[in-house]
């Protein structure tokens, strides 16, 4: 017998020992970050950066495959007992000695996860991790001249790049409302003092929003530079247009954070994505009825919200609980009871 076969045989035996649970359910009790475990991380520290931003130091589990500068990671955090998933750019360099990674989070108004991470996350807390991903990264071949164009928390992936790879000629244009809102300001100024970076800060409270045409004056050779831009959609749209106008769009790399803002209304178009049907729904009829009427095979039971026999993934949009009025928005892993939920705007149900 090969050792692999032996190992899998031993594992099968172990599964018989622990049935109906899995061996990992017990191993997780003692070693949640071990190799072979579902990927998790442990928050080790939270350092404030500005009034509303903080850097979270995470020790990833053994299964962490490492990241490329500029990438982001999705994390699952329990806030008020509810697991919520968000994506954040990694701000630590790829060769950090202690194997930790950092994300830097800006608390956005009403942001459940961001406020929790910035203000109340406790060291020692376990979080869920996905492998890092994203193609907003530096190229293999070093470009001669680099431009980073960022605004607000759009600086986070770029900071990951700045800390990771040194270039001979780097210019950065960064926008923030006021000087104290500039995340990593001290570190940026240290880089400037060491002549590793040329930095232009645009303070939008006093200077107004950056007019992309001003680039000619701020960075006269912008068109010759390999550029990475990250920030609000307005800035990125303007940048893409500007680069395209000058015929150098292949030099520009952009990263958009997609805050999926769902405005909950009443009723809307319901898509049953597994069946491929789309119908209009009012805000008062249970989605179970809507689906059945449309000929979609809907699981059901009590039809009154008690048996959980009808739960179905909500892939997009928002629904309203007809009993409590509570709004639930689509997120990975969110299941709804179709018998007591109605469309609160367009939504997509996996049936």
């Amino acid at each position: 017998m090969t050792s692999a076969a032996l190992r899998s045989g031993a594992w099968k035996l172990l599964e018989m020992v622990t049935t109906p649970l899995l061996p990992s359910d017990y191993l997780d009790l003692v070693s949640p970050l071990r190799a072979g475990a579902e990927l998790r991380g442990r928050i080790e520290a939270v350092h404030p950066e500005t009034g509303d931003a903080a850097t979270v130091v995470i020790k990833p589990g053994r299964g962490w495959r490492g990241h490329t500068a500029g990438q982001y990671v999705r994390i699952g955090v329990d806030v008020d007992g509810v697991r919520l998933w968000r994506a954040y750019s990694i701000t630590s360099p790829t060769d950090r000695k202690d194997g930790r990674v950092t994300i830097t989070v800006k608390a956005i108004p009403d942001g459940k996860v961001s406020n929790h991470l910035v203000r109340s996350a406790e060291p020692g807390t376990l979080i869920q991790l996905d492998q890092p991903t994203g193609d907003f990264v530096l190229p293999q071949a070093k470009p001669a001249k680099v431009l980073y164009l960022t605004a607000g928390s759009g600086i986070t992936p770029v900071m990951g790049m700045l800390r990771d790879t040194e270039f001979d000629d780097v210019v950065m244009v960064h926008c923030a409302p006021q000087p104290q809102d500039v995340i990593f300001r001290n570190e940026l100024h240290d880089l400037v003092a060491d002549k590793k970076l040329r930095l232009t800060e645009v303070h939008t409270d006093t200077d107004g929003i950056l007019d992309i045409a001003r680039l000619d004056e701020l960075v006269p050779d912008w068109a010759e530079r390999e550029a990475w831009a990250c920030g609000p959609a307005g800035l990125l749209d303007a940048a893409e247009e500007h680069w395209a106008e000058h015929g150098v769009q292949e030099r520009l790399h952009t990263e958009r954070f997609r805050p999926s803002i769902v405005v909950a209304g009443s009723g809307g178009e319901v898509t049953f994505s597994a069946t491929g049907k789309t119908v209009d729904a009012d805000g008062a009829t249970p989605l179970l009825d809507i689906g059945e009427e449309a000929g979609v095979l809907m699981p059901s039971g009590c039809r009154m919200g008690i048996c959980y026999g009808c739960i179905t993934p909500l892939r997009a949009g928002a629904v309203r609980d007809l009993r409590t009025g509570e709004i639930t928005q689509a997120e990975p892993g969110v299941l709804i009871q179709t018998c007591v939920s109605a469309a609160a705007g367009p939504c997509d149900i996996e049936r």
Binding site: T19, V82, I306, G309
Partner: protein
Amino acid sequence: MTAIDPTAHLTAEQIEELGHELDAIRDEVIASRGEKDAAYIRKVISAQRKLELVSRGVLLFSIFPPAWLIGTAGLSVAKIMDNMEIGHNVLHGQWDWMRDPKVHSTTWEWDHVSPSEQWKHSHNELHHTYTNVIGKDNDLGYGIMRVDEDQKWHPFHLGQPLWNFINACFFEYGIAAYDLELGKNLHKRRRKNPEFRARAKAVGRKIRKQVIKDYVIHPLLSGPSFLTTLAATFTANLVRNIWSHSVIMCGHFPEGVQVFERRSIKGETRGQWYLRQMMGSANISGSRAMHFMTGNLSHQIEHHLFPDLPSNRYAEVAVKVRALFEKYELEYVTGPLPKQVFSAWRKVFRLSLPNRTPKVKTPDREQELVAA
């Protein structure tokens, strides 16, 4: 069944008002669900797993009597925790709101021979929707017993104290058979139904795994303690079965609990549905430890009103629910475990014989409401 409908004094408006008051209690708990509750269930799950591990560890040396005793006691408690406070409640979706796929009604599997999926259907869907409705809720006597005067007597029922005792000892198998609706499905034609066969196969698989684990693997791992570990596991399963059977009997069988006729639930309003749950369930009084070991099914009335609220909140809900019972002059059936178990068993014995007095017709709530 009582000749007089104990809810007859309520007007239709009062019943709807009662419904709104219960909805308000539910909303309050939902709005305040949070981190503490999540921490509670995680702690219970982790404690259960540690207890099971340690107990099974101790049983490796069960050839020594003290080790046998400690290990068996520990394993019995661990199995009861898995079955009651964790399994039953997770499978009700009580913890789905945490969005943790590991503690979720769609993924949970329990240490029980009935696969979660089938149990959820017969229990959550049929029993909880049609609580105590004769002919609809098979939990009324599990199809093998007569537990109400309104059910027809048959000579078969003479043996029901014995059936009930056997069912208690092998309760998990009884439940599995019940979830399969074995009695009904063993008829020739139904046996071939592919849907039934698939479900029967799933039960077979689950039984095999459970039996191999408890009666082959763990005893084998114990080497010289093979036989004693086998006996210990058998005992733990027996204790768990008798315990859960007793708790569950207390939920709907004690004297004072009402049953309902099929037609009485036609067109039932939300208020009426609540009322039926209130009159169809009974509680067990006792210490916090008692509530915990029953999986909070000691708060059966509250559980039936709000089957998906986290179990750790039933105690606080019970205070408010009880006040409503008083306000609406309804009987809140409760008592200590021995008293309730005795009451339920007495009924099993009494109804094994035909009715002594001629059967009294069930009051028809619909008609009475119209009259009121």
